[in-house]
């Protein structure tokens, strides 16, 4: 297959740009400080600790913002990526050639999803983290990093598996691109509503939920609820992959 559209490279550039912008937008007026020269009760160590806590909060907020804004681009770029690298295989008969070798359909689908998740998740997770390490003072740490990492991987896997499923059903690059982008645009709009029509929608967008949780937008939500929600998203992902494999095994190439 010819290499025409640099989607992966474009995705990395978008993530870099978003990470840089969310870093700059965060470090703002919260870093006000006032010294009390001559005050005998002044506790310098305590004040330094407080400033370091603010820096940690800045790091967490900028990481959450970078991932949250990246999500808006992923819902466009990942369906496009699958449309051009998988659905097109149906159109130009590449898939028929690939399947003429002793390769199982399940293995092909699994490799496609796993590799795309790895290739897209790594820059999404590492670029903002690298910028935080490079730009913020040494010792700044992102809170809930594990939760962020898991949620990004699940989110990208969810978009990838739905795009794969749409590719298998529609077998057309342009139709896959349009349907995938539309589906995720509608889902993200619903998730971003202040009053969710149903809590089940949270399962579609773990990154957004964890980012909002880290930003303190879900004050009523407990940590255990976030973990449960991530487990629910994992269940949805497994279901989508299973349906995708079943359809792909029956589809005529």
């Amino acid at each position: 297959m010819s290499y025409r559209i640099p989607l992966i490279e474009g995705l990395l550039a978008v993530v870099t740009f978003i990470a840089a912008m969310s870093m700059s937008a965060i470090l703002i007026t919260t870093m006000n400080f006032q010294m009390d020269i001559g005050d005998p009760l002044y506790n310098g160590t305590e004040r330094v600790r407080l400033l370091e806590q603010i820096i940690d909060q800045c790091a967490t907020t900028s990481y959450a913002l970078a991932l949250d804004i990246s999500w808006a681009f992923f819902i466009v770029l990942i369906p496009l990526f699958f449309a051009f690298t998988f659905a097109r295989w149906f159109e130009d008969t590449t898939l028929r050639t690939v399947l003429s070798y002793p390769v199982s359909r399940t293995a092909l689908l699994a490799v496609k999803i796993v590799m795309s998740v790895a290739v897209i998740s790594l820059p999404a997770l590492l670029v903002p983290l690298f910028l935080i390490i490079a730009l913020l003072p040494a010792g700044a740490c992102v809170n809930l990093l594990g939760l962020f990492s898991i949620s990004v991987v699940i989110s990208i896997a969810l978009i990838s598996s739905t795009s794969m499923l749409i590719s298998v059903i529609l077998r057309s690059a342009s139709a896959t691109a349009v349907a995938g982008i539309l589906l995720w645009a509608i889902l993200s709009y619903l998730v971003s509503l202040p009053d969710l029509p149903t809590r089940l929608l949270m399962l579609c967008s773990p990154t957004k939920i964890v980012a909002n949780y880290a930003l303190g937008l879900y004050s009523e939500m407990a940590y255990s609820e976030v973990i449960l929600m991530l487990l629910g998203s994992c269940g949805l992902l497994v279901l989508l992959v299973l349906v995708g494999v079943m359809v792909f095994r029956r589809v005529e190439v």
């Binding site: 490279e9 990395l12 870099t16 840089a20 937008a25 006000n32 010294m35 002044y42 310098g44 400033l51």
Partner: protein, 168 residues
């Protein structure tokens, strides 16, 4: 295969570099400026900013006597807060005894910097400092230009390599 790998690298460097250039050109400046009352009870006021290049400043005393203005990097800022004193720290930029000043502060590297105003008199007063970024922010712009240029050079090399290949 090799040419495709070069093509990927070319796009990777070029696009990431362009993303950096665009970011350096439109980097917003949140909370730009500081203004406060200053007096014998609280003679030192400060604010911390993230800087990725030089900044324009306009310092004006609105009421009261002259002030001193200092810019410290992160380590000196923390030392200053820890010791509650300006004695053991050295600013990267300073202007003493001013009532009105307009100029440019050059920053040596990307990072957090504290902008400190100190009253030089025992009377109460107020001041205002306007701060704005000088775009493009050089500490992001220059590395991004280098990365983009590297991508372009890779592209040229890939093209030259393809042309030199004999026709099958």
């Amino acid at each position: 295969m090799r040419s495709r790998f070069m093509k990927r690298l070319q796009w990777l460097f070029a696009l990431v570099g362009i993303a950096g250039i665009v970011a350096s050109l439109i980097l917003p400046f949140s909370g730009g400026g500081m203004g406060a009352s200053i007096g014998p009870d609280d003679p030192v006021r400060g604010k911390m900013y993230f800087l990725a290049g030089d900044v324009n400043v306009h310092i004006a005393v609105r009421q009261g006597g002259p002030i001193s203005f200092y810019v410290f990097d992160w380590n000196d800022s923390m030392e200053m807060v820890r010791t509650n004193s300006l004695a053991n720290v050295s600013p990267i930029w300073s202007r003493e005894n001013i009532t009105d000043y307009e100029g440019v502060i050059a920053t040596p590297a990307l990072g957090l910097y504290s902008f400190i105003v100190r009253s030089l008199t025992n009377e109460s007063g107020s001041f205002h400092v306007d701060i704005s970024r000088r775009l493009p922010q050089s500490h992001i712009f220059m590395p991004s230009v280098c990365v983009t240029a590297f991508g372009v050079v890779l592209g040229v090399l890939a093209r030259v390599q393809t042309r030199r290949k004999p026709e099958p």
